[in-house]
Structure formats: structure tokens, C-alpha cells
Symmetry: C3
Subunit: 120 residues, 3 copies
């Protein structure tokens, strides 16, 4: 049986789960959900950078991203932050839809899957 | 070419698809969608336990979970059922958003991915 | 480190990302979003056939599908197109929910994961 490694295991979820050559992450919302979608997206992407680093990898190892926007009309604002952050030439597959999130203060949530490297 | 194994193959989907070291499951709704979110969540998690068992594994092998709530205001009720069921110290990555489901009787739907073991 | 291969890399996403034995695809909407849900679903599935072919595989290699409908009441229309297209006996795991999509012209979006073969 292949080992499963988990980061930040709480009562409801782990923030990252490493198994084989893949890393699954929990949906990330801004830990300080103030400001607009662009600001929250930038904050989330920084959180994702941090989680990826703790798993021994970085944004160039992203395989897929699911983005949930509380209001789909903020699509272009989210994209401004996303494109500023994205690793050129190494973009993941991506899906963006509208969905109400766990609290009205959250304007965007991002769930990624990455390639596992160092911790295999 | 690596073999793909499927459970309960219907005209629209398979309930579980095993490939390599991962198992993908179809979104599970309560097969008897009566009662509140807590009750439906408990029923779904029991169904997931059954599917995992048929794939030779259990909830400690979960890698990720996507939870869709018909009403995000039922988040804490869903969590009561989830936390009662969760395998301590072995939680998957998780994302929860609001989404209307296939019928108004369905209050919650859960899609999981698990590590494959016995059937590899 | 295992290589990551990408198809159609843009500033926001890659249309397909191949890593190990899995291929992640971006959410596909109809490139000519006219007509009803059945027509758009048929168009999307044709696009997915094309992407799968470019990755050296086909619909029998699908592992999972997430379907987002702008209006869940179009569920049966989507299914008509889906069932006409589906590879008998080789169906992926599937989850369908309602979600507003990037533009009001898009009635359905489909995100799939497939088994990788030729390009490993």
C-alpha cells in the first residue's frame, strides 16, 4: 500500500494530501477575506504558493485548478490576479464557475491539484 | 496500457472507476433523499463507505472530497454528519460550495477520489 | 521529477495537462455557443474527442467528468447528447451540478480527466 501524507490535518479536512505522484489541496479561500476579488485572488494564490512550497514543489507543478467565484461577473478581476501570478508556459488545466461559498465574505475559492516531487 | 476497472457501469456513468493508484467516484446523492442535510449527508457517507469497501479500501484512503450543498446555509449541519464520520487523522482535502443539484429533493452531493489498493 | 506535458498553453490555462498516467483537461464550453443545451453538449463532446485524440487516447479512457449546467432543468437534454456519445461499457465517474458559467451564452461546461497512454 502506497503511503498517504497529509498537511494540516483538522477535524474536517487536510489542507494537502500527497499520494503517489499527485497532491490534492483543499479549496483555498483568503484567510483575511477583505477587499475585492482581485485582492482575495492574490491572497489565495500566495497561500497556494506557501502550501506548494511545504510540499516541495511550486506553481510550475500545478496540474489543474478549479476556481469558484461568488459572482461570475468578477471573472476578469480574478483573471488579472491569476495572470500576474501564473507561471508562463506552465499553466494548469482550469475550470471557472460561479458558486456561493462558505460565507458571504468569501468572493473566490481555488482548489488545485499538483505533481508531487520531493515528498514521494 | 494500464487497465481501467469500473463498478456499476450504467448508460451515463460508472459509480467508481479504478485506474492506477487512484479511484474516481461519481457524485453521490442520498438514494432515499428524505430528511434534512445532516440525515442526507449521513446516508451519502454510508453509501461512500460501501463503494470504498467494494473497491477494497475505506475512508482512511480518501484523497479529496467535493461537497455540493443546495443551500450553503446548511454548511454546519453537513459538517456535523461529516465530522462524526471522518477518520481521525486521515482526512481528505475538501472543497464545499453551493450548487443546485439534479432534483430539489437532493440537499447535498459528495464526490470523492480515493487511493486504490486491493484492486490494483 | 516526472515530466509534465501541456497542450494549448495560454496565459490563463492549458487545455490539457499530461502527468504520469493521468490527463487533466480544462473545462470545455462550446466554441460556438449557439443553440440549446443538447446542441452545445454535442459540440463540447466533439471538442473533447479532439483533445483526447491529440493526447493519444479516446473517450473509453475517460476516468471522471464534471458537468456544469447553467440551468439544472436542462439535465435530461444534456443527458440525451451524453448518452448518444458515451462509450458503452466504458463510462467515467460523473458529477452534474448547476452553476453559472463564464458568459450567459454558455449553457453547459464539461471538465474531464482521462487515462494517459501514448504520451507517457
Amino acid at each position: 500500500m502506497m503511503e498517504i501524507k497529509r498537511l494540516e490535518v483538522g477535524p474536517r479536512m487536510s489542507q494537502a494530501v500527497i499520494h503517489g505522484d499527485k497532491i490534492y489541496f483543499s479549496g483555498q479561500v483568503s484567510s483575511e477575506p477583505v477587499g475585492d476579488v482581485k485582492g482575495q485572488t492574490t491572497a489565495i494564490l500566495k497561500q497556494i504558493d506557501g502550501l506548494l512550497a511545504r510540499c516541495g514543489t511550486n506553481k510550475a507543478g500545478l496540474l489543474s485548478a478549479n476556481i469558484y467565484l461568488a459572482d461570475i461577473n468578477t471573472f476578469s478581476q480574478m483573471n488579472e490576479a491569476w495572470e500576474s501570478w501564473a507561471a508562463e508556459g506552465a499553466l494548469p488545466a482550469r475550470t471557472t464557475v460561479e458558486a456561493k461559498l462558505a460565507g458571504p465574505e468569501y468572493l473566490v475559492e481555488i482548489t488545485v491539484i499538483a505533481a508531487s516531487q520531493a515528498l514521494q
